[in-house]
């Protein structure tokens, strides 16, 4: 009887002490779960099949943020169309940017294309830098360790566990890097729909041959696709796009160039390290298969 009571009490204590974490995207959810382990409860706001640029603030997001101890965002203005409004509506001062409860992945690593002109003639640019750091396993390893530090600051009594799990996660990704690089070696590169795969391409040392979007956030025009075809005719490569990006542009380009056009995910399909590894695997194998 006493044992049962003790077990229930310890379970209660654990539930009460678990950090309530809200992650903006599925990949941030993987980070939070892997680093937080038993010490966190994680809820993801953006479904993995939606464009995180285009979401709208919803009351259910505000509800989730209302009680959260920590929000884990990609950052660099990726979620600027909805996360600030959702945090405002949540009336939770712990999560305001600059406080311990607001964690931004992009703030933990150097960004590509940072310091570019904030010229919207170039489309929906992010002058702070390319925010799609979740597609870079090397940066994710660094971000995981920073998140471990953050959770340790929020929950000092579990600091050792957070740090150890963060280190394990970082190590697991770092170990796989040489394999991914070797698999992709010699591949001709790819045309991407949006600048969301740039970090992975740079990590693998492969060229981005072009973008289906003429400028970020604007659907492709016929003249842009023709120009792209003219530039790439005769080369090899693959066109990669996400299911939420319209398929017509990639299909037209694929036909004109004789390249394969492949749908690849941009977010993991599950909540753990394996799901994230599958995501990178899918990209690497799609890129490697373009090799002739």
């Amino acid at each position: 009887m006493r044992i049962v009571l003790m077990a229930m009490l310890s379970l209660l204590a654990q539930m009460a002490w678990a950090l309530d974490v809200v992650a903006t995207t599925a990949s941030m959810g993987v980070l939070a779960r892997e680093v937080g382990g038993e010490g966190v409860r994680v809820r993801v706001l953006a479904p993995p099949d939606r464009d995180p640029h285009m979401l709208q603030a919803k009351p259910s997001m505000m509800r989730a943020l209302r009680d959260a101890d920590l929000v884990v965002a990609v950052g660099a203005e990726l979620e600027m169309g909805w996360l600030p409004a959702a945090i405002r509506g949540a009336a939770n001062p712990r999560l305001l940017p600059g406080r311990l409860g607001y964690f931004e992945a992009a703030a933990q690593v150097p960004l590509m294309e940072s310091g570019q002109a904030a010229d919207r003639a170039l489309g929906d640019v992010h002058p702070a830098g390319n925010p799609h750091v979740n597609m870079d396993p090397a940066r994710m390893a660094v971000i995981a360790q920073a998140l471990g530090e953050r959770m340790a600051r929020l929950q000092p009594d579990q600091a050792a566990g957070f740090r150890a799990r963060a280190a394990r996660f970082a190590e697991a990704l770092t170990e796989r890097l040489p394999g991914w690089k070797a698999q992709a070696k010699g591949a001709p590169g790819a045309v991407l729909y949006h600048k969301d795969g740039d970090y992975l391409m740079a990590l693998l040392g492969l060229p981005v041959l072009g973008y289906v979007e003429p400028v970020p956030g604007v659907p492709p025009s016929a003249s842009h696709l023709n120009a792209l075809t003219g530039k790439l005719k005769g080369q090899g490569g693959v066109i990669l796009y996400h299911a939420y990006q319209p398929a017509q542009g990639p299909a037209r380009l694929a036909q004109a160039l004789g390249w394969p056009a492949r749908v690849v995910p941009l977010e993991p399909d599950g909540g753990d390290l394996q799901a994230y590894v599958r995501l990178i695997d899918a990209w690497v194998s799609a890129l490697a298969q373009a090799r002739t």
């Binding site: 603030a57 009351p59 600030p84 992009a106």
Partner: protein, 499 residues
């Protein structure tokens, strides 16, 4: 030689050699040893310098490695370009091409719709000065910033095409209150209803719906005061509760400080046989509101928000002076409109708002659906405070009641293309009741609106809108068909929009 001996002495001191070394042979050996050691030190130093230089060069060419050295350091805050400026600033440009079937009089009819709020000579600011042809509508200029750890502040100005500047909103919000509490103070759009606190650039249609326009005014309830909101813990349901105490400046249902002029609108003197007077302006706040919004969690694709609200203005005064119309002549008890009179009392309003959104997986808003509906009911509970006609007793009751609603739907027909349909109506109930029964019963005015919006990007849009309205103006039916072509451009760092 002396110098050399000095050097030898110095070296002798520096190196633990026997002090006997005075002989020349010993000295030569000593010198050789010294030179050798010096060379060795120099070489070591140079090697160190080179290593340091190469490390520096490496660090410069490899920012990534320098970052990974810092791994484990956790940085607070957000990466943002907008915060490079403090405050953040944004501008919304808005222009329309307009035409109608009434030679440009359509906008005028919209202002004069029969109802309980139009029939007094309250001097409000006018927004309906849209001409046939090209119009620059009010330009919104917004500033926002975090003041300090405790407050955020916002300022929203509108600049009309003539250069007139109006402060639409200027308020602070608390940042750090615990337990879901927030206080807003200053001039702001009230939190009642769904559309009330939205600015024209977030509307799905060019113009304000008839229910808001006739019952709350073109802007909705925009006033100066304090707002207290609370977001309680309510399981999976989002709940927002709020109360406001507002000054009630120039609300169509809450005006104070009116005075009956000694002159009638037609230029004549107010009849000497009159009775009564309007009471003094009460101290503010004179307008109180309460609202509640509930939103169940319907998963990733669906969102629903239901709201109810109520408002009470504890003082309202209005003067009716139609004597400049159609040569009515001096006050004639048989023709009520020929007599100047004033009413005062208080006002009650309530409303309910329903919003449903479907977020489709399609890109650029394709397949997205948004349905919204609001109902507003308004009662002005007044008594006659002044009348030019002595036969009408001061203190006689006047109950003015009007309601209205709109139903709107927007659908993403293609990437970046939206089709909108709206039905709005005002005056389903639309009457003035006296002690003995109904004094006036106005007809209802309604309208159908179709809009097609193309978003070039997140920051610019072009909208085509056509509407057909059956209005009642001065007791006569008026058919008004309107056509708009609108552009809206958003410049600068613009904040995220609420639900």
């Amino acid at each position: 030689m002396f110098k050399r001996h000095m050097l030898a002495g110095a070296i002798a001191c520096a190196f633990p050699l026997p002090a006997l070394a005075a002989a020349d042979a010993d000295l030569a050996a000593l010198r050789a040893e010294f030179d050798q050691k010096l060379a060795a030190i120099q070489a070591e130093y140079e090697a160190r310098l080179k290593a340091m230089e190469s490390r520096l060069a490496q660090a410069e060419t490899q920012p990534q490695s320098s970052a990974s050295r810092e791994s484990g350091r956790d940085r607070l805050g957000a990466v943002s370009s907008g915060s490079g400026f403090n405050p953040q600033m944004s501008v919304i440009l808005d222009g329309v091409y307009y035409t109608d079937n009434r030679r440009g009089a359509g906008m005028g009819f919209m202002e004069e719709i029969d109802g309980i709020n139009h029939a007094h000579d309250h001097e409000g600011h006018s927004h309906g000065e849209t001409e046939r042809g090209f119009n620059l509508r009010a330009t919104e200029v917004a500033f926002s910033a975090t003041v300090d750890p405790w407050f955020d502040a916002n300022l929203l100005l509108t600049v009309d095409s003539g250069g007139g500047v109006e402060v639409e909103e200027a308020y602070f919000d608390t940042r750090s209150l615990p337990a879901g509490w927030k206080i807003r103070g200053g001039k702001f759009l009230s939190g009642v209803g769904y559309l009330n606190n939205q600015h024209p650039h977030t509307w799905d249609f060019v113009d304000q719906n008839l229910a808001y326009r006739t019952l709350l005014g073109e802007h909705g309830i925009m006033d100066t005061g304090l707002q207290l909101t609370w977001t309680p813990r309510t399981g999976s349901v989002y709940t927002l509760l709020g109360v406001e105490a507002l000054q009630s400046n120039e609300q169509v249902f809450g005006t104070a400080g009116e005075e009956v002029s000694a002159d009638r609108a037609d230029g004549g003197a107010v009849g000497a046989g009159n009775g009564g007077t309007l009471s003094r302006e009460k101290a503010g706040p004179r307008l109180f509101t309460a609202f509640a919004k509930f939103a169940p969690d319907l998963g990733d694709n669906h969102a629903l928000q239901i709201g109810v609200w109520g408002a009470r203005a504890r003082q309202h005064q209005e003067i009716h002076d139609h004597t400049d119309e159609d040569g009515l002549g001096a006050c004639n008890p048989a023709v009520p409109a020929s007599c100047v009179h004033a009413l005062e009392g208080d006002s009650w309003l309530w409303g309910t708002d329903w919003v449903y959104k479907y977020d489709a997986p399609g890109a650029y808003g394709q397949g997205d659906i948004k349905l919204s509906a609001e109902y507003i009911w308004e009662r002005k509970d007044l008594t006659v405070a002044f009348h030019e006609n002595p036969a009408v007793a001061v203190g006689t009751s006047r109950k003015l009641t009007q309601d209205g609603l709109y139903l709107a739907g927007v659908y993403g027909i293609a990437p970046n293309w939206q089709l909108g349909l709206r039905y709005d109506v005002t005056g389903l109930t639309n009457k003035v009741e006296g002690a003995a029964g109904t004094l006036s019963d106005y007809n209802d005015s309604d309208r159908w609106t179709l809009s097609l919006t193309h978003h070039f990007s997140e920051f610019s849009r072009l909208r085509l809108q056509a509407s057909t309205a059956d209005l009642w103006v001065e007791g006569a039916p008026e058919k008004v068909n309107q056509f708009f072509l609108q552009y809206q451009h958003s410049l600068g760092a613009h904040g995220a929009h609420a639900f």
